[in-house]
């Protein structure tokens, strides 16, 4: 075996796919916890969310994790693309009739398509919020919930998010909300296969834990995207 087999072999590619995929699952949980703060109402909610946004963009440990997240997304996408190209090459002539629905789920066969949709979503999503927070013109929060002047004004990401899903402020708010929800459906399907598949590729979906992983994967694939999707719907409808 050549020394680079652990990087090049078909199985190694799957190990990397699993490792980055599972890391991104953990990232989703963290991101969701942050987003759920948008349910906190009033000035207190706004202050809380903006402080959180500041922490997320300035804390060195978070910074390190964020670079790991960007790298994982890129690696996951490139590795997935390489796997897809190889897999297409492995069957140069297609079947006239191929009844794949008889033996596998739609999501399991369309991970590349779903992944592409998600990559497009991530790019759009980061343009809408992440890039604005880092380099854009931001409204500032200058007073805390008690009305005291802040020593250092906070970037008001809360207002940016609220306005983004407010039809009075953003003419595309409805479209944005619908596309966001559809993207969460795509991530749900992606996770419905990806979660348990990651454990299988690492050789861990086996024996008594096998069933548990399958069930946990289904729950994760439904609950996490659903909670993400409820937030823009809530923000849109309270402001519509």
């Amino acid at each position: 075996m050549s020394r680079s087999a652990i990087l090049k072999s078909s199985l190694a590619k799957k190990y990397w796919m699993s490792a980055t995929g599972l890391f991104l699952c953990v990232f989703l949980l963290g991101h969701l916890a942050g987003n759920l703060q948008l349910f906190m109402e009033g000035a207190a909610g706004e202050y809380q969310f903006n402080q959180y946004a500041k922490f997320m963009t300035t804390n060195p440990a978070v910074k390190l994790l964020s670079y790991l997240t960007y790298a994982s997304i890129l690696f996951h996408a490139i590795d997935g693309l390489l796997l897809t190209i190889q897999n297409k090459k492995a069957r140069p002539v297609n079947y006239a009739v191929f009844k794949a629905s008889a033996n596998s789920t739609w999501a399991s066969r369309n991970m590349g398509v779903l992944g592409t949709v998600l990559l497009a979503f991530i790019v759009t999503h980061m343009t809408n919020f992440w890039a604005v927070m880092h380099w854009g013109e931001m409204p500032m929060q200058t007073v805390d919930p008690e009305g005291k002047l802040l020593e250092e004004p906070l970037k008001n990401l809360h207002m940016v998010v609220m306005n983004f899903f407010n039809p009075a402020e953003n003419s595309l708010a409805l479209l944005a909300t619908v596309l966001y929800v559809l993207s969460m459906v795509a991530i749900g399907f992606h996770l419905s296969h990806g979660f348990h598949s990651a454990f299988q590729s690492l050789g861990l979906r086996t024996g008594k834990y096998g069933k548990l992983i399958m069930v946990a994967g289904k729950v994760f694939a439904i609950v996490v995207p659903a909670l993400f999707a409820i937030i823009p719907l809530y923000l849109y409808f309270i402001q519509a």
Binding site: L11, K89, N103, S108, H193, S201, L202
Partner: protein, 250 residues
């Protein structure tokens, strides 16, 4: 039963190949699919044309020769069976049946429905064996105590007949189910232990060299496998390879 057959005809590896239509009449529902193919070939021979080439041998589901992709599924509809065990009663009078060869870069078509599956042989040659001294004083296998659970799992893996349905049915033409069964049947037993590391590394290396695709865990192979080889074997191969890669000197 009267049927319309759309059969893949390809005169050698360099021919482009095409689906050709045939009508067969008075097919008994009790015939096996291969017997129906025999009727078709008799008909073609009488017409003075070239009969359809297809692989077959034992006709009792244990040799793994018959390799037809029927109506979009390896060995046709039905579970846990090979093409020779598929009966015509599965179909209805007047049906159109598509019959194609296994499709994979690693299984090139030799003629019509016959493909070259020697890639599997080369994977076995790369490590799917135990190097036992056969000088005449070989130890009785029963002298080695083996837990019942392990013996059962090894036996289940060993039922793989190497037909290639897993490759044919996988959207990626991956050979993981085959390779994992062949690795598992030995990895689970003490006889296979000494060569465990090199086996996993060499068999996977050969699998990749042959141009099979990557496993994306769709699970189609397990469903279509005539011997119902479990995906647990693929999980085991993933563990075996990871273990061997991390410590290749063991």
């Amino acid at each position: 039963m009267n049927l319309t057959l759309k059969v893949w005809r390809q005169n050698g590896a360099n021919d482009k190949g095409r689906l050709e239509s045939y009508q067969v009449k008075d097919i008994s529902p009790d015939m096996s699919f291969l017997e129906m193919m025999d009727v078709l070939n008799d008909q073609i021979i009488v017409e003075g044309k070239d009969p359809v080439a297809f692989d077959h041998d034992c006709r009792e589901g244990i040799c793994g020769s018959c390799s037809m992709f029927i109506n979009g599924e390896a060995h046709g509809p039905g579970r846990g069976i090979t093409t020779c065990q598929l009966h015509m009663r599965t179909f209805n009078d007047g049906d159109t049946i598509y019959i194609e060869p296994w499709r994979a870069a690693a299984f090139p078509v030799i003629k019509d429905l016959v493909t070259d599956r020697s890639a599997f042989d080369r994977i076995i040659q790369a490590g799917g064996y135990v190097s036992v001294n056969t000088s005449g004083n070989t130890q009785d296998a029963n002298a080695l105590p083996i837990p019942k659970d392990d013996a059962d799992k090894a036996f289940d893996a060993a039922t793989c007949i190497g037909c290639g349905a897993c490759v044919a049915t996988c959207k990626n033409s991956s050979a993981m189910l085959f390779v994992s069964a062949k690795v598992s049947q030995l990895a689970l037993l003490p006889q296979g232990d000494p060569e465990r590391t090199t086996r996993a590394l060499h068999m996977v290396e050969q699998m990749d060299k042959e141009g099979f695709g990557n496993c994306t865990n769709t699970g189609a192979c397990e469903v279509e496998c005539p011997k119902e080889i479990s995906l647990e074997n693929i999980a085991r191969l993933n563990r075996e390879y990871l273990r061997a890669s991390v410590n290749p000197d063991k």
